[in-house]
Amino acid sequence: MTNKQQTDELPQVHYFDYKDVDTLKRFLNPHGRITGRKHTKLSAGDQRKLATAVKNARFMGFLPYTIT
């Protein structure tokens, strides 16, 4: 079954750069958490690269750790 709510297609990313906040934000949910593979449709390796980039972006103050 397909999820009809997921109408917006996520961009195809060659390299997840921690400085590219706009791209990274598209892979986060409204609470600032990294969305799962079911939503991102990334390979396991790319999902890990996304997670690392988001964590680096948080460390460097580009993204918040939590959004309340």
């Binding site: 060659h14 390299y15 750069d17 921690y18 400085k19 690269k49 680096n56 460390f59 460097m60 103050g61 580009f62 993204l63 918040p64 750790y65």
Partner: protein
């Protein structure tokens, strides 16, 4: 694990992102960046590309211990530089960065192959001759049908009469 992009002589590509303290003036900024570049050069590295430090508002307040006191930062000057360096010299660079009083925070990344290569652009699919021929045939078929579709009124009347009989 990220793929290593290492040359034969043990030279690796790195990216250094850094937050400089917001109290620096324009002249000081240029001086601090030059110092960093000189440090990399002195270790035998060469700079590939860089982004000049720009004022940046942090998404959360950062703290750094200076002289026994926590100092808080809401803004900073963020800059980055990509360079090549022998992997055995990285520890020396890290130690220098740790003791740099002008830095709020820094991030040193080892760049993998995907970061260094431009994204592949897909070539448009070449159109096969067979497809062109089938399309042409379909068009011809459609035209024939359209041509057949035009029937005069007299013929229509005859056909209707035959059906009634």
């Amino acid at each position: 694990m990220a793929e290593k992009h290492e040359d034969k002589e043990g030279v690796q590509h790195y990216e250094l992102g850094y937050h400089l303290v917001p109290s620096l003036g324009e002249d000081d900024l240029a001086l601090r960046v030059e110092e960093l570049q000189k440090k990399i050069a002195s270790l035998g590295g060469s700079i590939v590309s860089e982004g000049a430090p720009q004022s940046f508002s942090l998404t959360y307040t950062m703290r750094k211990m200076r002289a026994g006191k926590w100092e808080k930062y809401d803004t900073s000057f963020f800059g980055w530089t990509r360079f090549t360096l022998a992997h055995d010299k990285v520890d020396e660079l890290k130690e220098d960065l740790e003791h740099n009083e002008q830095l709020v925070r820094y991030l040193l990344l080892k760049l993998d192959k995907t970061a260094l290569t431009p994204p592949k652009v897909r070539k448009p699919r070449p159109i096969k001759l067979e497809e062109v021929e089938t399309e042409a045939k379909e068009l011809e078929h459609k035209r024939d049908e359209e041509a057949k579709g035009e029937v005069s009124e007299e013929e229509l009347d005859k056909q209707i009469e035959e059906l009634i009989k």
